[in-house]
């Protein structure tokens, strides 16, 4: 996985709560057997009408945000399925950071596996961020978000931070402990 570095761009304000995985990638697009190519299906039913034309009132279709790498959303983002296709679609679309008051657990975990940084902030701060049209800078190393001459800190688990910053392969890390796995298996056969 690529190392995560600073991200600086405008941020897309998707002011909805409980955005679920069926909205992030509708299930008719889950049948690919690769990890890539899901970006064009991101929020498909919100972005496109029945004829496949862009819906102008949906925020992703606003040209202001055509180069955004940051998504702002309401509480409980990513609820529903375990499908990692949701994270693949966000990443493939070009999004590296998602900021919301809260996330669903499996989705949150899937983000880190794909080089996406999910940041939980109090609702009022997310609301403030949604008001700004200027660029937002997200720095994982210092755990800060800078915008409109403000700096706000965010919290993240140290182990997960390291995974993103170093772009670690989780499996390779775990396999360094293979002797412990083997000894566990010897004492716990079922």
């Amino acid at each position: 996985m690529e190392k995560f570095s600073k991200v600086s761009s405008t941020a897309i304000p998707l002011d909805r709560a409980n955005v679920d995985t069926d909205q992030i990638v509708p299930k008719q697009f889950l049948k690919l057997v690769q990890r890539t190519g899901f970006g064009k299906f991101l929020f498909y039913d919100w972005r496109f009408d029945q004829d496949g034309k862009q819906k102008p009132d949906f925020v992703l279709n606003d040209p202001t945000y055509s180069d955004s790498h940051i998504l702002l959303a309401g509480e409980n983002f990513g609820s529903g399925s375990s499908r990692e296709h949701a994270a693949w679609a966000l990443k493939d679309y070009g999004l590296d950071v998602i900021i919301a008051p809260s996330f669903a657990d499996i989705f949150y975990n899937n983000c880190f596996k794909n080089g996406i940084l999910p940041i939980s902030l109090p609702g009022n701060l997310v609301d403030d961020l949604m008001q700004t049209k200027s660029a937002i800078e997200v720095d994982l190393e210092s755990q800060t978000i800078r915008y409109d001459s403000r700096t706000i800190p965010f919290a993240i688990d140290e182990g997960r931070k390291k995974t993103l910053l170093e772009g670690l392969d989780d499996i390779a890390v775990t396999l360094q402990y293979e002797d412990r796995i083997t000894s566990y298996e010897k004492s716990h056969a079922l």
């Binding site: 909205q23 057997v33 409980n76 609820s79 375990s82 990692e84 182990g159 499996i171």
Partner: protein
């Protein structure tokens, strides 16, 4: 120190710590066609093997057709995904229950049915409804594809310890047939919300939970994820041990294991949960969802709520309710029993086990589906289908003009040809009423199997208590 059931299972599966996180050993890994192809590809690219193919079991369920199995699969992309799973299982030496196996079915129906699911174990699958297996006192959770690859390669998962959440359902249900496990879990989600369980493992406790059969307990645990929980579980008891005894993959030393499970797999007296919530079973009535997430649910005796009344001052919830009513094409104040339906789906890992089908059939009493309603009954597995047919349920359903189909996930998520058309309204025994879940533009109302069967006959929702 006294411990909860979950803490005991967690502690007994710790392998080591890595950077402050815990490496947890996984006893059983279930695999299906949609979330696994990229994981197997990852193994191939990195020249890795499956560490424990003997603890890994696969089936195809999400996008299999539920009509005639002898016909080729028309959807070429589905066919590729199914073929890919066959190839991967062969290459990596994993047992597969394929479309022609007598054991094929929804992964969460066949795990328990085959005795793959066992008390006190850790179970994962690339599917959020893996929480179903918690009904047996297992720590069972859904994972993404990267973690599927991680478990295939290492038989372990790196995790942070979830918090514990006690949900008590005290007392007895007022009506054993009309008020079901589905109504219990929908009532809980309605109260605690779709993020109420985030970061926790729920333990369901109390008299009304102990009273449930294993099929019913699976319905409750299945929807733990709809409350946002990492997993849900129920302490095993004699019903659990009797259910699993003699199943195909139950261990040889089963009776010895039962003795140790009886001693170990309980929450100790005085153990503390991080959170607690309780409801009284006698307050629960049949439930019907009206919105686009499972917490947007009402008693069948109620009306569709006004968004402000539903949101109780929470602006984002009010907006969500407005959007939901618009999508569902419902007006606030409409009695739930006045909502007419076009389709009925009885199936899914929530409600497609034998007891669900028996109870749905019991509602029919020689009547027929409303002429305006198309009804599909999709058994959870080939074993369920066979048992139901031995009991003559297929005949009862077909005489009522309910379609009797082959096993699979079917219209729960509509990845196969079983979908709603735009604007169609469906009474569904599945678990999610998200926008477009059962087909783009389709409208889903979550209900129990008895409520679904009654709605099929009446053509609109009814209070099924009046039918018994």
């Amino acid at each position: 120190m006294p411990q909860t059931l979950f803490e005991k299972v967690w502690n007994s599966h710790k392998v080591t710590e890595i950077d402050g996180r815990t490496l947890i050993y996984i006893d059983r890994h279930l695999v299906h066609e949609v979330t696994s192809p990229q994981a197997f590809d990852g193994l191939r690219i990195n020249k890795r093997r499956v560490r424990r193919p003997d603890l890994t079991f696969a089936t195809m369920d999400h996008n299999v057709p539920t009509n005639n199995r002898s016909l080729p699969i028309i959807d070429q992309i589905s066919a590729i995904q199914i073929k890919t799973l066959e190839t991967n299982c062969k290459e990596f030496g994993i047992e597969l229950f394929d479309l022609h196996s007598p054991y094929q079915g929804i992964v969460h129906v066949i795990g328990p049915e085959l005795g793959i699911t066992l008390p006190g174990t850790t179970i994962v699958c690339g599917d959020s409804h893996t929480s179903t297996h918690g009904a047996f006192g297992a720590f069972a959770l859904g994972i993404g594809t990267s973690d599927v690859e991680h478990v295939l390669a290492t038989q372990c998962l790196v995790m942070d310890k979830p918090k514990t959440f006690e949900i008590r359902v005290d007392g007895k249900r007022k009506h054993r047939h009309a008020i079901t496990a589905k109504d219990i879990i929908l009532s809980i989600i309605k109260k605690i919300g779709t993020a109420g369980g985030t970061g926790t493992v729920i333990e369901y406790r109390g008299e009304a939970i102990s009273d449930l059969s294993m099929d019913e307990r699976m319905t409750v645990c299945n929807m733990s994820i709809e409350a946002g929980a990492r997993a849900g579980l129920i302490a095993p008891d004699n019903k659990t041990f009797d259910y699993l005894k003699g199943r195909k993959y139950a261990p040889k030393n089963y009776d010895d294991l039962v003795n140790s499970w009886k001693a170990d797999l309980v929450t100790d007296n005085g153990a503390k949960f991080d959170k607690t919530f309780a409801i009284s079973a006698s307050d629960i009535v049949p439930q019907v969802s009206w919105g686009t997430n499972p917490a947007m649910t009402s008693d069948v005796t109620d009306a569709v709520p006004y968004p402000d009344e539903y949101a109780k001052g929470n602006k984002s919830q009010e907006d969500a309710a407005k959007k939901a009513l618009e999508y569902m094409d419902l007006k606030p104040g409409t009695q739930i029993t006045d909502i007419k339906i076009d389709r009925v789906f009885i199936g899914s890992c929530t409600n497609a086990r034998l007891q669900d089908l028996v109870e749905a059939a019991d509602v029919i009493h020689g009547r027929k589906a409303s002429p305006n309603v198309r009804v599909m009954v999709v058994p959870g597995s080939q074993q369920v289908k066979k048992q139901a047919e031995e009991m003559g349920l297929d005949k009862i359903f077909q005489d009522a003009n309910f379609e009797w189909r082959e096993s699979g996930c079917s219209m729960c998520l509509g990845m196969n040809p079983d979908i709603l058309s735009r604007g169609e309204r469906c009474a569904s025994t599945s678990n999610r009423n998200f926008e477009g879940r059962q087909g783009s533009g389709g409208r889903t109302h979550l209900v129990s199997p008895v409520m679904a069967a009654a709605a099929a006959i009446a053509g609109h929702f009814v209070d099924v208590r009046e039918w018994f």
